[in-house]
Amino acid sequence: MQGQNLKALVERHRFAFAIAVVILITFLMTAISMSLYVSSGASRLDLSRPGFEQARKDIIPTPDDKFSAEGKVDAATVDEFEKLYQKQRVYLNNLGDFEDSSLDDASLRLTPAAQ
């Protein structure tokens, strides 16, 4: 009897019921997407978030030279490879290395002033 009432109710408000189902599915899909976004670690690397404007400006294009996967390997090939390899290493050497003193007590002013 209850099932029939429910069926009749859905029949009467078919459009509203369809909208409710669509909204529910949207919520579900958004929740799944957000959980994947966070759990995959993508959220930590996403610089398009608000507040990351400066970080976006600090992105330096990576050298994007191609090295062919086919062909002989001779002295010239090794020289060509080394040139590309060194380019990447120079690029890396100019980046921060998470080692500066930014987190020291003194830098964060967490050391009591001398009396």
Partner: protein
């Protein structure tokens, strides 16, 4: 049962004097702001490093494949590129932990919980040191690969040329 009622005392708690706690309370909001700024700067560094490591790894894989296709052997290069991959994975994982730890430290109500804040900051420093260590390890792998090119591959190329 008595030990269950004894409050846990973290080693860091005991190291802080009253004066230090007062200083932390007074300056921690500014410190959190500096942490936030550092997090933004280092997010760009992480991105730049990540993309470059991927590019250099692709270069290494391509050369290794070409060496195999030409029936040459360079085990140092294969080992160094495999090491580099492992260390890059460690770098990514440690950075994620570091990032999460910084985020948690920034969110703390540090004026009410100065000791917890300092403990959290100590944890942030340890995780940051791990990321720095990963970078050093990756550099070692890249040095080893470079050494392999000079010592092993060049010799192998000369040997294969003379045997033809």
């Amino acid at each position: 049962m008595v030990f269950l009622t004894v409050p846990m005392v973290h080693a860091e708690d005991m190291a802080l004097s009253d004066r230090q706690i007062q200083t932390i309370k007074a300056n921690c909001v500014q410190a959190q702001s500096s942490l936030k700024q550092l997090q933004l700067t280092e997010a760009a560094t992480r991105n730049n490093r990540g993309r470059s490591y991927e590019s250099i790894s692709k270069l290494m894989t391509t050369l290794n494949g070409r060496i195999v296709l030409n029936k040459l052997t360079a085990p140092t290069l294969t080992a160094a590129s495999s090491d580099m991959e492992k260390r890059f994975t460690s770098f990514k994982n440690n950075y994620d932990s570091y990032y999460d730890s910084v985020t948690a430290t920034i969110k703390l109500s540090c004026k009410d919980q100065p000791v917890t804040f300092y403990d959290s900051l100590t944890n942030v420093r340890e995780l940051r040191a791990r990321v720095a260590q990963d970078i050093k390890s990756i550099n070692e792998s890249l040095d080893a690969y470079q050494g392999g090119i000079n010592d092993e591959l060049r010799a192998e190329v000369v040997a294969s040329r003379s045997s033809q």
